[in-house]
Point group: C2
Chain length 338, copies 2
């Protein structure tokens, strides 16, 4: 029931996902009187989903605390409960991010060894896609959080991007070892000293995100959220200005006609719908957040991420790497800030 | 002597600036044997500059501490000294940012009422330009720093953008009052309660940068540096991909030919050279940092920023606003983080 055009987009998205992933089945939580007529429009879906009625929803402007108090019986709460009860392997929602995060954390709890869950997603780069986390779950992070994010991000890249040894970097204001704050310097030392199934390369800067310099970019939720939205905002600004420029004169209109196929490929690569599906990592159960403004195809991408994660045992990978990290004997790290 | 193509770019940039700003005169610090032959190539410049020879330079990879110890006699050190001695109204350098910042701070000291200087610059937005600070001078900031940055940023906007009451916002992960960390929430309350010659609008998100939602975006140096480089990186990625797309087939090449004039206008607006010139704000003297990779025209833009700042009494504006803020009776602000 969440997102800008629910339940239409969600049902249509599920139908698209069903075509892409014939083994997936759906439990759909929400207002049956609105959902059932939609489902009948998609014959493939009809035989592969169960609708569970509830007339309670978490609204877009509901505070996380409010949702926690009164959201257990909501469509969102019931979907998370289905994951907890083992009835579903993942919950996918386009609803209120803060509420989804708070309820997921409260109901599913963090995995052993993970202090805080992180929000991770694929982002388009000039040479493909990279994983970035945390995108906003934690506005303040310590060095342990960052190390755990690195482990979870690498597991994400191995699962969804199919890389055996993904490259991982901490987002910083420079690449030299003495740059940044104390937290990030200690996390850097901890990751350097650990022997994890990743290629830890040190620091990367803001440019590194779009360059695709590394497979996994790790940062705190404040910086990550600002960086993500800055990148999206910049891309949207340029797209908007280009659209205006290309309809500015008859010359540019003609130019656009010829260049359209090439520009569409670019648009496609940058379209957030094709990279939709942010994962709350580090919980005892899979919860995927779709963009509230995602298209049906975008919502299907988010379902695809969930299916990938489940099929490739994301949780198992994270657990294994956490144990590797813990058994590794880390000496006390001391770093001086200049 | 700093930047990727010094002293050529610097001298050519000074000549371009001289054409734009006929009242400006230059003191040029550096290797006379390399500078003098260049200056003679630009007749307008020849009669409006003094070359002061030194064979000491701060190199690009020199640590700030090193530069502080042995840089006083360098071209950079002498240029800052000229500002300190009142011989020059501003120093403009394309050299080592960390060294320039450290030496400027050490030699010029911060203005009364300013705890830490900040690096500020104009950035292109979808509807013009906005001021952003701090872009990397301080990786950790408290609420007083952020308030002082807001005051300095507003003075920048009034000086360079000619706005009487610029809109100012704090960069955050959401616009609601309960978003963000404690520091930013307290700064928000302090700015709301103060009666400053600015239109303080509260929080803005990463999108807000490119949107041009506000005239001044205030943040700590860590987030600001990452956001700036993310925006630049995203713009460069899109430009690169567009270039590739438009030379991909004969169709798109033809399209490009027709659309070229329109696309050039866009390129021009986004070209960092046209927004070059970051200001170290809050010092007893003007120091402007040009991008190390700026073109001659870009270096001239940085000189233009210096001239604007000087002509419009930036320091006087900041001083006045700081006094306004100090006389304003601020009650103890207490904010709870959720």
């Amino acid at each position: 029931m969440g997102g800008d055009a629910a339940p239409q987009i969600v049902i249509e998205g599920a139908s698209i996902a069903r075509e892409r992933l014939p083994d997936v089945r759906f439990l759909i939580y929400g207002d049956e009187t609105r959902i059932a007529p939609l489902v009948t429009k998609y014959p493939f879906l009809k035989n592969n989903c169960e609708i569970h009625h509830t007339d309670k929803f978490v609204s877009a402007d509901e505070k996380p605390g409010q949702a926690l108090r009164r959201g257990r019986e909501s469509s969102m709460g019931l979907a998370i409960q289905a994951v907890k009860d083992g009835k579903a392997i993942a919950a996918v929602s386009a609803g209120n991010t803060g509420a989804l995060m708070a309820m997921s954390k409260f109901m599913l709890r963090t995995m052993p060894g993970i202090d805080r869950p992180a929000l991770a997603s694929l982002l388009p780069t000039s040479c493909g896609e990279s994983v970035m986390l945390d995108l906003g779950a934690n506005v303040e992070c310590n060095e342990d959080n960052l190390v755990q994010f690195a482990i979870m991000g690498a597991a994400f890249a191995r699962t969804v991007l199919g890389l055996s040894t993904p490259s991982v970097a901490l987002l910083n204001v420079g690449v030299e070892e003495l740059k940044g704050n104390e937290t990030i310097k200690i996390a850097d030392r901890m990751l350097r000293d650990a022997n994890l199934p990743m290629n830890y390369v040190g620091f990367t800067e803001g440019h590194g995100l779009a360059n695709g310099e590394v497979d996994v970019v790790v940062t705190d939720g404040f910086t990550g959220n600002v960086a993500l939205k800055t990148a999206e905002g910049t891309a949207r600004m340029i797209a908007g200005m280009m659209k205006a420029a290309l309809s500015d004169s008859w010359m540019s209109k003609v130019g656009y006609l010829f260049a359209k196929p090439a520009l569409m490929g670019l648009k496609n690569h940058l379209d957030p719908n094709n990279h939709n599906g942010a994962v709350f990592m580090g919980l005892n159960g899979l919860v995927i957040k779709s963009h509230g403004g995602a298209s049906a195809s975008g919502f299907a991408s988010a379902i695809g991420v969930a299916a990938d994660m489940a099929a490739n045992d994301l949780a198992g990978k994270i657990n294994k790497d956490l144990k590797l990290f813990e058994t590794h004997d880390i000496e006390e790290v001391e770093v001086k800030t200049i």
